[in-house]
């Protein structure tokens, strides 16, 4: 996977992980992948829901040591 940008949103709580993911995504072009790292439990369902509503695609999710990592492809 070719990650174009990594967003470290660890320690931030709702709504900031999604707000920052949106800003980061705005700077990418279609097909590029954004990696988002977060520790906010709410992001687990909200990031995919945001991605779907915005036409992006969640390619993979990993949960390790309390850190959630998402790879989202810009639509």
């Amino acid at each position: 996977m070719n990650v174009a940008k990594v967003l470290d949103a660890k320690g931030l709580s709702c709504p900031m992980p999604v707000v920052k993911a949106k800003k980061a995504m705005d700077e990418l072009t279609s097909g590029q992948v954004l990696e988002v790292q977060t520790t906010d439990k709410g992001a687990k369902s909200d990031l995919p829901a945001w991605a779907q509503a915005s036409g992006h695609k969640v390619i993979d999710i990993k949960e390790e040591n309390g850190i959630l990592t998402f790879w989202i492809e810009k639509g």
Binding site: S13, P15, V18, G42, S45, A49, W50, A53
Partner: protein
């Protein structure tokens, strides 16, 4: 900056029946599962992550009059502030973010005075609006008994201190499956006796005082009598307070009846439930006021915020008390049941003392409505 409103103020508005327009900013799945309800409450679901660029795409679902008061809510109170600011930017003048979100809403307990007791004393109901749980305080001559308490023990402790009440007895009508009981903790903290029906307590890991049919508990000048009334669980016990009030636990609600399937023995318990509702309770006085451990919706709430109705009225109006044939009754309470409460198995184990989740885990386990009833 968005204005903030506490869940206590929201609870008071709902109890007063005020009109409220709420924007719920959680995702669609969470919203579908559980939301703020009230007689005059209108809620729309606009997830915060869909209005990152502004609320314009959703204007048709928002009030036309920009002076309308709007309340925003989310899971914990962060995103609702963001949403409130977005609403303000769209020109809305009176926007309040609900502090602490659905988490705080789920944990808020509102004390409502039910009435005075003939023998001297007062009965209070603690209404947990966010989850539909009801718990009780019987007070007489400075002594008190708490029944079916929630895990937010500090609320009860503060209340009894403020009112100068010494709690002597803490009782659970049954082993709860929808919420974590505060009973054991309160009894320890206040130096009170903790009572459980022994048939529900066979697997508990702590010591307790068994409460059996016919037992009497003296609270000041008032007597609380135990009436064995199985069906929701095998141990379910009702309590008669001062020959005026009937605490039914999860056996009989205002607009529904208990479900017999939360401990895995649905077929065994159907006939117990039938017996309790159609024989045992039928012998009681019509004017006794039923006080259940739950309610399901705002239609069950009285004008003063209480959830209570005379037994005689329920025998006329509650569908679950008016099913003629045993076969139809069996079908009603065993088929097409609503989904079981969130994490009900883990909640039961916690109430038995087998699991000791931390506070955050307890919150997670209790998320969502109580779903203890069959309509």
């Amino acid at each position: 900056m968005a204005k903030i409103i506490s869940v206590k103020e929201v609870a008071n508005k709902i109890i007063r029946g005020e009109k409220m327009f709420i924007v719920d900013a959680r995702n669609a799945e969470e919203f579908a599962n559980w939301r703020i309800e009230g007689k005059n409450v209108e809620v729309v679901n606009i997830p915060y992550f869909e209005i990152l660029d502004g609320v314009e795409p959703f204007l048709d679902r928002l009030p036309k009059d920009k002076n309308t008061t709007i309340y925003s809510v989310c899971a914990k109170g962060g995103s609702s502030e963001f949403v409130a600011e977005q609403l303000e930017q769209a020109g809305y003048q009176n926007v309040y973010s609900i502090e602490g979100g659905m988490k705080a809403w789920s944990e808020h307990l509102e004390p409502v005075k039910i009435g005075e007791l003939k023998s001297g004393g007062t009965l209070y109901q603690f209404v947990r609006l966010g989850k539909g749980c009801l718990s009780y305080l019987v007070e007489s001559n400075g002594e008190g008994a708490l029944i079916d308490t929630n895990r937010m023990t500090d609320v009860y402790v503060r209340f009894v201190k403020e009112h100068g009440i010494t709690i002597k007895h803490v009782i659970d009508t049954h082993l709860h499956a929808d919420h974590i009981s505060g009973g054991r903790k309160l009894a320890e903290q206040l130096g009170a006796t903790y009572y459980l029906p022994p048939k529900d307590a066979e697997e508990v890991t702590f010591s307790y005082t068994p409460i059996q049919d016919g037992d009497r508990i003296q609270v000041g000048n008032v007597v609380i009598k135990a009436l064995y009334s199985p069906g929701h669980t095998i141990g379910s016990t009702s309590f008669i307070v001062d020959d005026q009030y009937l605490l039914t636990g999860d056996i009989l609600f205002i607009d529904s009846i208990g479900r017999p399937d939360l401990a895995g023995k649905v077929q065994d318990w159907v006939s117990d439930l039938r017996q309790t509702l159609y024989k045992r309770y039928k012998q009681l006085a019509d004017d006794w006021v039923v006080l259940p451990a739950h309610y399901m919706g705002p239609n069950e709430m009285n004008e003063d915020g209480s959830v209570a109705e005379a037994l005689g009225v329920l025998y006329k109006q509650n569908h679950g008390l008016n099913i003629g044939s045993e076969e139809e009754f069996r079908k009603t309470v065993t088929e097409n049941l609503p989904p079981q409460p969130n994490a009900y198995k883990e909640i039961r184990q916690t109430n038995m003392g087998k699991l000791s989740p931390d506070e955050e885990q307890q919150r997670e386990m209790e998320i969502g409505p109580n779903r203890c009833a069959v309509r």
